[in-house]
Symmetry: D2
Subunit: 350 residues, 4 copies
């Protein structure tokens, strides 16, 4: 019963197969391998973007920071939500990679609204050279709290950005889960919705460590290559990044994985909603739930070996009925049975 | 016939096996996986350094830059040879990671001498706050031109560093090849020789992408963890870095791989030395050769599909007897037969 | 009638005299001038801090950024108020000088409270290496909205910082105005209240461009010297910085200047309070007021050549009774008569 | 007898007068003062560059670093001579301001030659994304060893830069001394000779601390303003920078000062050449000499209170005839009598 994160899971069989297949003889290094050529073509086709610039890196933080550094000057500020991974969970990586740009928080909610974004942007660059200049907007889809922006909501945000002439970055660490939730195409969730550059995450959803960064307007993207190199993110044996992405895309393995993850999320949500003692506190649009469960439930789950984060207090000691907040993430390889068992233990004698 | 670099080869079977074995169920992310615990213990044992701080990253540039940034202030200068990878081939990564430190070149040769190093160090920090302050010394072993420092030579350099109170970094992108060439222990080539922190490369010698960074004095090493995170080099699915290193070390797979590579290097050197028209221009102590071959030889080799770098001029056009410089690197998976065939083609009707 | 800022005024006669006096023959450069020796002694005596490290720079942004960079690592975050000059008005200078540290906003008010600060600090470093680590607290005294922290309030904030083991920086761009308002000693407002390093501003209160940075614990302060040099803030003809500070301190010129400025602030506050149509919206503890005046009042003032910032809307067009927000700053050389005239015009026929 | 540097001298009377004149009433801050408007017009006229972007900063390091950061990307390298101030004497300021660019040394001489520059440039950017990309060329005029490039020599260097499509920066810390030495116009020594941006130094030649940065093509120069602000180099009381430059240019005060300095340099050179025991080791084209004098001469000079740098060894102890290297710089306010006295003492009983 592992619900700590979707980064605790293994590689998809298809990814493992592609990796094994790639592991023979010789290949030109640094992205000149033939598998990368195939991957580039696949991603361009998938995104209906024949001219897009496509790069691979190994981590989400690298993808986000390098993408932002390419479109953000050191004297500018990035706009994002208060829960944004780039703000909370990258130990100042965007500040590092941009050479000292700032992050400006739009609103107080996990999901940015056009109004909050407009207010945040309007509040900057009103001080001539004294304040930071307006830089790109970064949107996370699926959000860090498990919500999915509808296409209209995305467009609402990018419209605000465009009205100020700003570029838009999409942090798609859980791109597949969002796409499956919306039932849309990759193009609809990106450039057709006003996104300029996307971090197309694959690690969480079944790879070992690979993310694509895709610039829909390839102009200035060459700079990304140099920034990737000096960031130490250009792999010499690049074929092993290429192969992961190849296997991930092959036969829509990635979509099936996200469907499985989201289905487990829905199963968990349904079960908790049916439980009087449980309270879901987020909008679990994909595979992430935030919920309150009584301390006694956590104690039963812990005793049974369930792994997940409890942020609401001390599980061991206190009133057994007190509700404690926890985060539950369903990776692609979480089983139906594990969710059922979790629910059974959570429900207990309630 | 692939002699372009040792980064064009595949994973060792042992590494692939470990990777496959690691690919099941769940593991805690970010280095809290049990395989990493094992790897940490293995590397500490291997280096006879029970208190060492051990970290994994995926690229050599990351290993070098993060190691240097941890021991070098932005207002200092790193001392290295003119051919150092950190100087020539990392697109200013050390400058980036250190926040703007400088690199000062010691001497004019691939192999630093104590005299050249002493002169370079003495020449700095003579200008109070106006010039950069003295920072760490970085030594590459195997050097970028294929030479291996003897233990005495290493000690000669670290003695100079110590006499100025400076720390020493060893860029061991080809650590295994050097160790095999010297027939020494890892401890003898590092802390026993005065090295403070080592980039223990594994990628070139049979992994997909993993390098260990080992601090023999773990004080201040915690900073490395934060710098790794903000550099985007902390892997969420860290077990796949751990597993590579596990397989690499298992049953001395890494040493056998380096022995194979060096043996092919020796085979190549012997063959070229026997060839009147060829001239080896470096000291091929491990698996790297720089040699001049007549243009006609290159033409025959190219026609047969041999892959390697020619830096000495245009292969296609010109006097067939004109010698052109090339670099030949033997990876662990280069076959005896391929070297033999290369030599045969190179020798031609000579 | 100049109320735009206290940076629009001239040098104090005492400063001009010292500058003229210093302008002869030769002096050793880079801070080795004898005037600096005297200034160092004066500031140490003034602050009752015989061991303090004392440096001069020419701008407040340099003073703040260099002070923070000396006590804040790139992977940390500075805590400050939402109106902090370092956050709003330095175009990412702290991010630049620290090598990419973050600024975390404590509370929503101009004046930080211990509770808001504690909440902000507690909310950081809860994510291991994933979030930024806790760095120094920066307090502005006089605040950017014209309020002055009492010594108890200061102590309340520094107590919180100390309880987390964090250092405290005081941005004293208007140090003199605050000290005069509190009627305390420099030591009471700094190290006796828990401040570790202070930007002792002198530019606004009567110099051409000089600020002292004082570290009460001089350990690690040597780093400041190197950061100052590489920031381009070490003056070769340093005696002209020294002389400004010498004249500023001579015979308490600085305190008389601040008394004059604060008196004009009080005169303005008293006059506006007596005016039905005016509303003061800040706590004008020193020489800065934020007030709402009817549009007609602004029109009369503008017509008479008064200079100050109106942030509340368009002065030219609209309902003459509509109140518009403005900022009024009284420099040391603003005359009683100018304030009286301003009030007369503002009051109009009301 | 002060020959330590031209940064040990006072302000020109004209500069002091302008500063005094500027010290009254109120002026808009941050460069919006009317004196700056006049200065901008004066410099544009002086340089015959009506469209040029003109900025003031207070130090030479700031001028050089901000100019370079505006025209150099973090993944590029600047080309300069081994003695360049930006390389040796700015404690990594260019590396800091550019966000981690590298400096590549062209040749081994104080004066770059077109051949050395071409070789240095050709040697870079031959490694695709692995090495730094080619960035701007920076030339110092007067050089750090006292030589002046002829207009033809300047053009020879800028032609090489242009042939690679690179921009050219001129470090004119001693611009006036060079211009006087060449008897040319400012335009001839800058844009007519292929210079794109110049640091027009004024501090050494008679100001307290002001340098102009002039971009002949103002496109992208707006970025300079933001970099200046975030570097802490935008003065609030900017009129005191403006006034210095105003006084400096007024009635050609700056040229007379440089003429005086160069004349003293020539007087010193003539005197030393006539002295058997003295040896001039540089080409003293302006106001800087490097010479060897016997230890006994240094001892006599030191005893008489002469101030200058001896780099060749210990003055106090050793063979009285042993020649020791020293640097002698004649500021604008060095008197004929002081040079004569220096020569007399140096010559001694010879």
């Amino acid at each position: 019963m592992f619900f700590a994160s979707d980064n605790g899971g293994p590689m998809l069989p298809e990814v493992m197969t592609a990796l094994t297949r790639a592991n023979e003889a010789f290949a030109m290094p640094y992205g000149a391998d033939p598998i990368m050529e195939e991957v580039r073509a696949s991603l361009r086709a998938l995104f209906e973007a024949p001219g897009a610039a496509v790069y691979l890196v190994a981590t989400g933080t690298a993808a986000n920071s390098l993408a932002l550094a390419t479109i953000c000057q050191p004297f500018e500020t990035v706009f994002c939500s208060p829960t944004a991974h780039i703000h909370e969970d990258e130990c100042n990586a965007p500040e590092f990679y941009t050479g000292g740009a700032k992050l400006t928080i739009a609103g107080t909610e996990d999901k940015m609204t056009p109004e909050a974004l407009r207010t945040a942007i309007a509040g900057q660059q009103t001080r001539a050279v004294h304040g930071p200049q307006r830089g790109p907007v970064s949107i996370t889809q699926v959000t860090e709290r498990g919500a999915v922006y509808s296409l209209d909501e995305l467009r609402g945000l990018t419209d605000v950005a465009k009205s100020f002439g700003l570029k838009v970055h999409l942090d798609g660490a859980r791109f597949a889960n969002a796409q499956v939730a919306l039932g849309c195409t990759p193009a609809e969730m990106t450039w057709k919705a006003g996104v300029d550059v996307v971090s197309f995450g694959a690690t969480k959803n079944g790879c070992a460590g690979v993310e694509a960064v895709i610039f829909f307007d390839p102009e200035k993207a060459w700079e990304f290559e140099l920034r990737r190199k000096r960031g130490g993110h250009l792999f010499s044996k690049h074929r092993f990044l290429s192969a992961q992405m190849q296997g991930y895309l092959e036969g829509d393995a990635w979509l099936r994985a996200a469907e499985a993850a989201n289905a487990r999320g829905a199963q968990m949500a349904k079960g908790l909603r049916a439980m009087e003692a449980a309270e879901i506190v987020n909008t679990p649009d994909a595979n992430i739930l935030f919920a309150r469960l009584p301390r006694a439930a956590h104690q039963r789950l812990h005793a049974a070996g369930a792994q997940y984060y409890v942020m609401g207090g001390d599980v061991e000691t206190g009133d057994p009925d007190e509700p404690l907040l926890c985060r539950l993430v369903c990776g692609w390889n979480v089983s139906k049975a594990d969710v059922a068992r979790f629910l059974e233990l959570a429900g207990g004698d309630a």
